[in-house]
Symmetry: C2
């Protein structure tokens, strides 16, 4: 047995900002060295950010990433960090792979490089390329062809990247190689309750490989994805030794006692690398293993949205956000989320009352703005509405949509004039059935709650108020907004329930039909009314054109409207079976 | 040698409308029997339409497709067409494939089934699943594992599906099997000049396999894709025996004299099927082999757009289209295209002059509407603009965008009131550099010229006028609209050249940077000014958020903005190298 002090850098890189990411990795490595670590690892593709999508085709980007690995090696050495064994995820290419028109140009790879003493000693290219759900890695990378085992003071450590451990194979390789530790670099996006699945997977692979498993993940938002961290280390029995917090940057340190192997056997397709780290650090103080408690189901969704929203704003260089505050629960929750993400000074609400707006809409919106301390202005739309109607004389749905679109033009005008990014406040239930106005309430650069069903909009609002109470703060969301009946207020006395079923029923049908691919028959078998199921399914099918033009927002569920669900606009398949 | 009369059904199926597609296939089969054909083949997935995207996950759809193959067999028999050997493309599943979380649910396959005498005799599942460009077939299907050779009156015919012949392998299989004919079912979308590439590919595979190649493609529009037909047959020397027209439904018939094989050798992983067709039809009249001339470069783009637009409208059940007619060349070309696609009675133009609109804008738009015989109405925006400005006092770009957005709200109001689908008239050059107003001129259900660079907008306008002259018709596009300097007319005296380089230069830079993935250095090396290349690249990178919310439109180029190009919104990679 030998002692290994391991440092897992759970960081928030920015796609394409290699300089920023390199500095971030260096600063974490410095901290790791100060803590006496032998081995340091980042998440998947940390040097270039993840996912990079079709940017993987750009040769200049591949070249820059390769150069940055060398620069990292040099700067580690220059800053007296050269002794540390650094495993860094980055973009590379497979120079030996055959040219093939069906493959991505330049044969890009999703690579982990091993650096010590200013030298790149070896690399591992991801073998298993996920191409389902939000992932398109057959499109973006060529698969690795060789396994890598690095022996650090005779401790054999097998490397893997994310999807590798979701597939069978790598744990068998680690076992065949006699590895004591399976070190996995990940870019695993948040999804409700995925933390539990990840832990179970690591435990399973640890037992299969008879090895410790160290799992390091990214944190932060990237377009539709939010990486939640949750880096963790389990021993070969599957017991948790250390676990990082979700949604926070953190350097997770652990002292591991691991079996050594002096004369490893050769295995075909496997490369071995022999490295010496500093002598075991037993004289030094042992690090305390932190095991963060995973967040509960509401909290993790709430912080996932906050993280996604904050990073969309920050990484795209926006100063502030602006959105319509109707006094309804959706925009109210968005206001609370935005304030938690950016602080009140960067949040701008706009109230656009019409002739059909209720008095409570205006006062409730005002009350919430005051509770949060955010800016709020009121711009009535009646004069503009009248100018349109003088020219158009619209009625019915066209007249309702007109009001929503006038508001959108006002928000976009203020956005252009003052530099805010507009937020769309639609929830998943609305998006599913097309209960929104395209180019009206659907406008925006980012849509924070688009993957949150209406029932969860209420639950998260209540949860956020409870959090405030537990902190002895004023609850940010006025109770009367949670309690009021939902209405779009586009005609007198309108209520959502005029055209939609109760939201608990609607959300359950959407969960079956959209998220679980149930047929209409299977959905009815869950206990729902047949005509209702058929109507909802038909609404879902016909609203695709609206969703296609909706802004991106953070994925929270097993299947979001976005990268997870790609269906034709033009089709007549109506699942009647 | 034995004679085979082959019928290739180049048809336009509708995604998900199995009943419609089945009837269409039956009517073509009836025609083929009347013409004495032995073997009849459809394009890829013709029974369910193509591409079906994530609909492949729906078990009810797979079941319906499987049932429809049986129904087709029964109806062929019932209508006395049972003697015909029918090869039909459809959705199926691989019941024997292992379950695997990384695979699409239910193991869907892209299948061709062989039907005769009311029985399904065999099937071939596509082996090579394209996952690049516009294709995501690793996401949607599991690959086939067995080859199929059908022996028809001792003529060995190897089957393949689309991508199979773009990869190495299938022609070797056909050769090893001693096949006389390689029959390929395709769903090959249009792309400029792809007809030449396809022909060369078929010729190459024919020579490699020492066999005839029969290539049957779909026609018609499906969201971003347009299938152009161009079905063809070459002999083993690569000479063209028959070729169907582009963009038209057609039953392509050919008499082929093909070598017979009495005692085929067994090849691993290959299934053989022995069928008898009617005796050779030599007593009957031989069919005349038609070889359509491929369209020239402008004509094929023009008809690709017309096809895509017509099918988006028809297949989605719209009655008519509506768009803003500014008097500029973009909306003018769109008016001509829409009129060719739908006829003048289904085309509605709207002129929305502002204070900055020139007199010629109004009169030119009016003149073109009269030439085309389409509806045209004028709704000035000044009163609405003033109502907004009383509340907002916008200036600069915010004021310019306001005008564009007021027009959009007018079009959407008329769309909701009267039932038209709105067309966005932006071209590829504008889309590339973000020279458009989101929720303004960018609104619409379909964007006919989004993959057409501005220089080609002019070329296609001139081409369409020449076509009219060759037919002794009035040219649809007034010459003064082609000749005038482009302007958005959002402020007094504004010209595109105030903020953009000349379009021939801009389009060439876009072609290098976007379509060919050239780095900035490589683009400069093509002979362009360095600061200009850097500025254009930066504009392209920063406009992604606008493109993401732009309506779909027909792919014409090697890389469209849409399925072909998937880059993050949030990223800081600036290709400076």
């Amino acid at each position: 047995m030998s002692q290994l002090r391991l440092a897992l850098a759970q960081i928030n890189p920015i796609v394409g900002d290699i300089e920023y990411n390199l500095d971030l990795i260096l600063s974490q490595a410095k901290e790791a060295v100060a803590a006496g670590a032998h081995v340091f690892a980042t998440g998947e593709m940390a040097l270039v950010g993840y996912p990079i999508e079709d940017l993987s085709y750009r040769k200049a980007f591949i070249d820059a990433s390769r150069a940055a690995v060398h620069a990292l090696a040099e700067r580690l050495e220059a800053e007296n960090l050269g002794e540390l064994i650094v495993v860094v995820g980055h973009l590379d290419h497979d120079a030996a792979a055959d040219h093939n028109d069906a493959r991505p140009r330049n044969n890009p790879t999703n690579t982990a490089s091993v650096i010590q003493h200013g030298t790149i000693h070896g690399r591992y290219d991801k073998h298993h390329l996920p191409n389902y759900g939000v992932f398109d890695e057959f499109r973006h990378f060529v698969p690795g062809r060789e396994s890598l085992i690095m022996h650090v003071n005779d401790i054999p450590i097998a490397l893997a990247i994310c999807e590798d451990i979701w597939q069978e194979g790598p744990s068998a390789v680690a076992k065949a190689a006699g590895a004591s530790l399976l070190l996995v670099l990940n870019g695993s996006p948040y999804e409700a309750a995925k933390d539990d699945v990840r832990l179970e997977l690591c435990q399973k692979r640890a037992r299969e490989a008879d090895a410790h498993v160290a799992y390091v993940n990214l944190v932060g938002g990237q377009d539709e994805l939010v990486f939640d961290g949750d880096s963790l280390i389990v021993d070969s029995a599957g017991d948790v030794l250390a676990r990082a917090a979700q949604f926070q940057e953190q350097l997770l340190l652990a002292d591991l006692d691991l079996p050594t192997v002096m004369t490893p056997t050769n295995v075909h397709g496997m490369k071995r690398l022999y490295l010496k780290a500093k002598p075991p650090v037993s004289p030094a103080l042992p690090v305390t293993l932190g095991t963060a408690q995973p967040l509960d189901d509401y909290a993790e969704r709430y912080w996932a949205i906050v993280t996604g929203l904050r990073d969309y704003v920050e990484k795209n260089g926006f100063r502030s956000v602006l959105f319509g505050m109707s006094g309804g629960i959706d925009s109210t929750l968005v206001a609370a989320l935005a304030t938690d993400a950016l602080g009140p000074n960067r949040v701008f609400g706009v109230s656009n009352p019409s002739a059909w707006s209720t008095e409570h809409s205006k006062t409730d919106a005002q009350e919430q703005a005051e509770r949060l301390g955010i800016s709020m202005r009121t711009i009535p739309i009646a004069p503009i509405f009248n100018a349109y109607q003088d020219a158009l004389s619209l009625d019915g749905v066209a007249e309702e949509n007109l009001q929503a679109r006038i508001r959108a033009v006002v928000w976009m005008g203020l956005s252009n004039q003052e530099g805010h990014v507009v937020l769309a406040c639609g929830n998943k239930s609305e998006l599913a059935v097309g209960y929104s106005t395209i180019y009206g309430d659907a406008v925006g650069g980012y849509a924070p709650i688009k993957d949150l069903p209406k029932t969860l909009v209420w639950e998260l609002s209540r949860w956020r108020n409870r959090l405030a109470e537990s902190r002895n703060e004023t609850p940010p969301i006025p109770q009367q907004i949670i309690d009021k009946e939902p209405s779009a207020e586009l005609r007198p006395g309108q209520r959502d329930s005029d055209s939609l079923p109760p939201y608990d029923v609607l959300d359950a049908i959407i969960d079956a039909y959209v998220e679980r691919d149930f047929s209409i028959t299977e959905t009815i078998a869950e206990g729902f009314d047949e005509p209702l199921v058929r109507r909802v399914a038909s609404l879902v099918d016909r609203a695709e054109y609206k969703r296609r033009q909706y802004p991106p927002g953070p994925k929270l569920s097993r299947r979001n409207f976005g990268r997870d669900r790609r269906v034709p606009i033009t089709h007549r398949w109506r699942d009647e079976g």
